[in-house]
């Protein structure tokens, strides 16, 4: 025991004698300023949601309230704090909540020392967001659930896709707040819906009241039918549908385009006052029906009534169609065919018990680093030399040095007797095309 304490004491000395940079204090102020700016926005949001509840509209319509009053109000709405953080600055969801569009559910069950409560829901016919709280007696019980299903009264799954794990830090926490986002598929939505999952060794079932009749009435459609082009690549916007929780934009790409567009970088709605609704942070960016047909999502402006509204786009990522294939020689550990800009290399191939790991290294430019975590380079499916199709089940991302200039994406392939070389397909690649697209919706 003593030599550990000795080593730790050496650290004490090091810490004592450590120098700190001169600009340290600036960083304190910067953090504080950021907090102040957000607090101003948040206060406006919180006040107006209280207004809806209290119905003392005239008194609350002014944005300025004394800090003491504000503190008192916040303390009276349990759970608001964590919901605000799980919305992560999505203005559309903020507006939905402000306009009384969040339903309190308070559905709670306890099994095996775990209490799971669905606190509230924001939903429309396009998606459903559930805010929940887990309370676990024992920290060692895993708080992650599996086999989630959302079904209608006929027992059909209505979930096209689901997202979880918005709150990062669950270790050591007995009480966890998080959210689930479900994008609906084309199956019929009914009242109620059923949500089930496995957690703490038990199966849980919740009946969720779902006001489908009301939701059906809540959408605004802007027909567009316009073809525009960026750097010679043509795209047709069919329509823009505004739901209370988000906006869905239908777009098709011309099959004769020489490039595959992989991601819109700044697609946004802008009104006459310069208010902008952009893509959702940490959410689904789009549902791709195929390479040439997408539904792209943005934050919703359903509850605002702008006099004019434009759809704008200036930058997109795209790759030459004939450079999408990446052919990898497993034995020589080389890329035989791939993007011609030379930024993608094969760093390593490692065979282990739990998978065949293919480590791709990608040199980023400064602008890419800002988007660093956004793109997964490869499609899940790949082929071997016999033409057989496979898919990999997961991948990890890491950075080679702290400046983040070289991105590694390490694919974990199931262990099989593949015939080399393997062919992967690029799904997203940071070469860009630019243009000035501005479509008037209203």
């Amino acid at each position: 025991m003593q030599d550990i304490e000795k080593k730790l004491s050496e650290i004490t000395d090091e810490v004592d004698h450590m120098n700190v940079p001169d600009q340290l204090n600036q960083y304190i102020w910067q953090g504080m300023d950021r907090g102040k700016r957000e607090l101003r926005r948040k206060r406006r949001f919180l006040y107006s949601s209280i207004a809806a509840v209290a119905a003392i509209l005239i008194f609350f319509s002014s944005i300025r309230l004394s800090p003491a009053f504000a503190a008192a109000c916040v303390n009276n709405i349990p759970g608001m704090d964590y919901i605000v953080s799980l919305i992560q600055g999505d203005r559309g969801l903020e507006a939905a909540i402000n306009n009384n569009f969040m339903q309190k559910l308070n559905l709670t069950q306890t099994k095996n020392g775990m209490t799971f409560t669905i606190d509230s829901m924001v939903a429309d016919q396009n998606q459903m967001i559930l805010f929940y709280t887990i309370h676990r007696k024992d920290l060692s019980t895993d708080s992650h659930f599996k086999n989630e299903e959302i079904t209608n009264v006929k027992g059909e799954s209505v979930a096209g896709s689901m997202e979880f794990d918005y709150s990062n830090d669950v270790k050591g926490k007995k009480t966890i707040h998080d959210r689930i986002t479900v994008t609906f598929n084309e199956k019929q939505l009914t009242n109620p819906l059923n949500y089930s999952m496995n957690l703490a060794g038990a199966k849980w079932d919740f009946t969720i009241p779902f006001n489908i009749d009301q939701y059906k009435k809540m959408k605004k459609v802007y027909p567009v039918n316009q073809t525009v082009s960026m750097d010679g690549q043509k795209m047709t916007f069919d329509k823009v549908t505004v739901y209370p929780t988000r906006v869905a934009i239908d777009v098709k790409f011309d099959p004769n385009n020489t490039k595959q567009i992989t991601r819109f970088e700044d697609l946004r709605l802008v009104d006459g006052n310069g208010n902008t609704w952009a893509s959702i942070n940490n959410g689904i960016i789009s549902s791709n029906i195929s390479d040439n047909e997408w539904i792209v999502y943005l934050q919703s402006n359903y509850f605002s009534n702008p006099k004019s509204l434009y759809l704008k786009l200036n930058s997109a990522r795209a790759i030459n169609k004939n450079e999408r294939k990446v052919v990898v020689d497993l034995n020589k550990k080389k890329i035989l065919e791939g993007p011609t800009d030379g930024r993608l290399t094969l760093s390593n191939v490692m065979k282990q018990k739990n998978g065949l790991f293919i480590d791709f290294a990608f040199k980023q430019q400064k602008i890419d680093q800002e988007h660093g975590n956004e793109y997964s380079l490869f499609n899940w499916s790949f082929k071997d030399a016999t033409g057989e199709n496979y898919s990999f089940q997961s991948f990890g991302t890491s950075f080679e040095n702290t400046k983040g200039q070289t991105l590694h994406q390490i694919l974990q392939l199931p262990v099989k007797n593949y015939k080399s070389p393997l062919t992967f397909t690029i799904d997203d690649y940071p070469t860009r095309i630019h243009g000035t697209i501005s479509i008037k919706l209203k």
Partner: protein
């Protein structure tokens, strides 16, 4: 008085409190992240989080410890975010290039940073920030006896981990279809 004002988010009061702890916070960040810029960014982030959440702190005696805890949590998240490699770490040790910019961490700190959050906090408070056991007890609102037990357990855990030798944790996040 300063604390009351800071809780109400009076800029001057809040910044005075944060400034008084800035060195300590920076040093903690640096022990975890090993790079000056990363540690500065960490201080900024913690200052931001503290400002947003200061209303949660009940008494002034708790502020410093609360800030250190936020800092540790942030640093652990940052380390995890940067090292999201799927393969087991030690297989890659000799294959990955030595990171030129960052200073290599002491072995004991690598193990320390893998300990349970509560154990980690007690060791950091005692050895990085020279809290007495009584101070730890007060700021964590815990009996002195519990602090002693917990510290011993933490040191024991640390000793066990170092004896095992390997970096067993694969702190990665899977992206699944």
């Amino acid at each position: 008085m300063l604390f009351k004002k800071a809780r109400k988010r009076d800029s001057k009061a809040f910044s005075e409190i944060m400034t008084s702890y800035q060195d300590q916070l920076y040093k903690t960040a640096w022990r975890y992240l090993r790079e000056e810029q990363d540690a500065l960014d960490a201080v900024q982030e913690v200052s931001y989080r503290a400002f947003k959440n200061i209303h949660k702190v009940k008494q002034p005696e708790y502020v410093k410890t609360w800030l250190i805890r936020i800092m540790i949590n942030y640093c652990l998240d940052e380390i995890r975010r940067k090292k999201r490699t799927v393969p087991v770490a030690d297989v890659y040790e000799d294959l990955k290039e030595e990171d030129q910019d960052a200073t290599t961490k002491l072995d004991i700190e690598n193990h320390l940073q893998k300990l349970n959050g509560n154990y980690q906090l007690i060791i950091v408070l005692k050895y990085y920030h020279q809290y007495t056991l009584t101070e730890i007890a007060e700021s964590l609102d815990m009996p002195l006896g519990t602090v002693k037990t917990r510290l011993n357990r933490a040191l024991e855990r640390l000793r066990e981990q170092m004896a095992e030798g390997s970096e067993s944790d694969a702190g990665y996040r899977k992206e699944v279809k």
